[in-house]
């Protein structure tokens, strides 16, 4: 993959972004629809002088990433929904130990083994992960350029805040090939930033530790409060969203992320042709969720249409942001159902006439 204009697959874009960001450790386990990532990593990572390991389970993948991160390396693992469930234990440990890493979830339908079709069924397990009182940053790309850009950015975000960062994609974004213009001249800002906390051998110092076990009375409570301070800083500094179509003073707002946001852009055009003006609010960070920006945008419209490829997960955060349930109209397709732009438009038309 080179710089400039090219036809690439979402899963491949993630591999190249990780390598460009200085990721030199990858462990992953096969699961559809993200197999191109470990497959490509198996030869691209050694080309870059890094370590590729085909882990024997997702538990092993995430715990290898834990070890590599503890040792100071930029590390990544990728999976799809059922595999992410298995990783939740490790994600919680990494959050507790404040270890940076990039995790990619190319979502498929669930629950259980579900199917291998694109889905947004894991919004909950991305923004409300694992056991214990913690958060991870979650970025939701909606095209192939963003699969590259967000993955690249995720490594700096992870190091900056010592936190796991998840890219929440889906089977469509993973498998889609798109002609994109890639700027590969960017250099990761924090690649060479010191990691004094990392385990590199106690050279000229006492031994240090990476732990999440805090048994002294009050120690864990303090740790949780310290983590919360960090989370507040992330909310303040890193909350991102896209707001489109507001210049035309729309009466209605669509709120959608990832693939549903992409489809909704088509719906906006169809609606415009039918004389219905809509705007689009697309959260880019699902955690931290852009509550304030959505609250402001929602004030300017009569209704907020929430579209998801699930039966209503992000809509809970939309309701919190908007603060007026009578304004919310939800439409979702679970189990691998991908709505068409026309289908979403018909839903809007049915509610506004």
């Amino acid at each position: 993959m080179t710089t400039g204009k090219q036809l690439i697959k979402g899963n491949t874009a993630i591999v190249e972004a990780a390598l460009d960001a200085g990721c030199r450790f990858y462990a992953g386990y096969p699961i559809t629809p993200q197999n191109e990532i470990p497959e490509t990593m198996s030869w691209r990572m050694p080309e870059e002088g890094g370590t590729f390991i085909q882990a024997e389970s997702e538990l092993i993948s995430i715990n290898m990433v834990f070890g590599a991160s503890a040792a100071g390396a930029r590390a990544m693992t990728t999976s799809s929904s059922p595999g992410i469930s298995l990783m939740q234990e490790g994600i919680s440990y990494m959050a507790g130990c404040e270890l940076p890493a990039v995790l990619v979830n190319v979502m498929r339908g669930g629950p259980g083994l579900g199917n291998i079709a694109p889905s947004q069924s894991d919004y909950f397990q991305a923004v409300k992960p694992g056991h214990g009182d913690f958060h991870i940053i979650t970025l939701a790309p909606h095209n192939i350029s963003e699969m590259y850009d967000y993955t690249f950015d995720a490594f700096d975000l992870a190091d900056k805040y010592r936190i796991p960062v998840m890219i929440l994609a889906d089977g469509l974004l993973g498998q889609l090939m798109e002609n994109v213009e890639l700027d590969r001249s960017r250099k990761p800002a924090l690649l060479n930033a010191p990691k004094p906390w990392a385990l590199t051998g106690a050279s000229g110092r006492k031994g240090q530790r990476i732990v999440s076990l805090l048994m002294q009375p009050g120690a864990l409570e303090k740790h949780n409060m310290d983590l919360n301070e960090k989370y507040n800083l992330i909310k303040k500094n890193e909350t991102r969203h896209e707001l489109a179509g507001m210049e035309k003073s729309p009466e209605y707002l669509i709120a959608a992320f990832g693939t549903c946001a992409r489809i909704s852009k088509g719906t906006m055009n169809i609606a415009a042709d039918a004389g219905i003006k809509t705007g689009l609010f697309r959260p880019i960070t699902l955690w931290p969720f852009p509550y304030e920006a959505l609250k402001e945008a929602a004030k300017k419209v009569k209704k907020v249409f929430v579209f998801e490829m699930n039966l209503g997960q992000m809509v809970e955060d939309v309701r919190l942001a908007v603060g007026d349930d009578s304004k919310i109209e939800f439409y979702g397709r679970p189990g691998g159902g991908v709505p068409t732009a026309e289908e979403l438009f018909e839903f809007i038309r049915g509610k506004v006439k």
Binding site: F25, A27, T51, I53, A55, E56, S57, L59, I60, N63, M64, V65, F66, G67, A68, A70, A71, G72, A73, A75, E89, G90, Y93, C97, L199, T200, G201, A202, S203, G204, K206, G207, Q208, R209, I210, V211, S212, L213
Partner: protein
């Protein structure tokens, strides 16, 4: 009169006093590991992985870099650390609940990949930290808090012999079972762990040292009786000695 130092605490131990129970094998094994790391001059190039179990507190006592690992996952955490720092001495220290039960997949695949690591496996035939429940290593008939009538073969199968099992793998280079019940056996245990460390440093590959270790509190025994129990009963089922050594 000039003082002659005949013994001192290893630099690889912190000043914290061991908090393990009286007669527990962990303190002994922690200390011989620290002595060996001093002797090998590796204090500044060692990264250890502590388990979930009593020895999770190992990092309170060792004065070298140590990380925690989720229950059973220590071998794969160690794998990644070793791949990132191939010149360092990396080892995991795990109990039998951690390694032989919840971490079975991790230890088997790490062994089968032939990672250039040293694994120290503390077998005290029960879950120590949680109060003495049955482990896969619990002896037949052994009473624990979850096998109050004694381990029953029909329900629980036979105690797993991890060392003998792992020795079957082509990539496993060195397996030895030792005990820490008296001075002579502690010296042998130290020799075995040293060999495991040297194997890693000279690139020989995967080494596994099983240490039969007393758990007087959960066995409901006095420390000396617990050590005699290892010598007289436990080591009959888990025989000590060299199991595999391939150059």
């Amino acid at each position: 009169m000039a003082e002659k130092i005949v013994y001192k605490k290893p630099d690889s131990l912190t000043d914290k006093i061991f908090s393990y129970c009286w007669g527990c094998g962990h303190s002994t094994v922690h200390k011989i590991i620290a002595e060996l790391i001093d002797e090998l001059g590796m204090r500044e190039k060692t990264i250890a992985v502590a388990p979930v179990g009593c020895a999770v507190f190992a990092y309170d006592f060792w004065n070298f870099d140590t990380t925690e690992a989720a229950h059973g996952r220590a071998p794969v955490v160690a794998t990644a650390i070793k791949r990132v720092h191939p010149g360092h001495l990396v080892f995991s220290y795990q109990g039998d609940g951690d390694l032989a039960s919840i971490g079975m997949a991790e230890i088997i695949h790490t062994a089968n990949r032939g990672e250039n690591l040293t694994i120290i496996f503390i077998n005290n035939t029960n879950y120590g930290m949680t109060g003495g429940q049955m482990a896969p290593t619990t002896l037949i008939g052994q009473k624990t808090t979850t096998s109050p009538a004694g381990r029953n073969i029909k329900q629980n199968g036979y105690p797993i012999k991890m060392s003998e099992m792992l020795a079957q793998f082509e990539s496993v280079k060195y397996v030895e079972r030792v005990k820490v019940t008296n001075a002579a056996s502690v010296i042998k245990a130290k020799k075995a762990i040293k060999k495991g460390f040297l194997n890693q440093l000279n690139g020989t590959g995967f080494s596994f040292i099983e240490v039969l270790s007393a758990c007087p509190a959960n066995w409901r025994m006095e420390p000396l009786a617990a050590k005699a129990h290892i010598d007289g009963v436990i080591s009959k089922y888990y025989p000590v000695g060299l199991i595999k050594d391939i150059k």
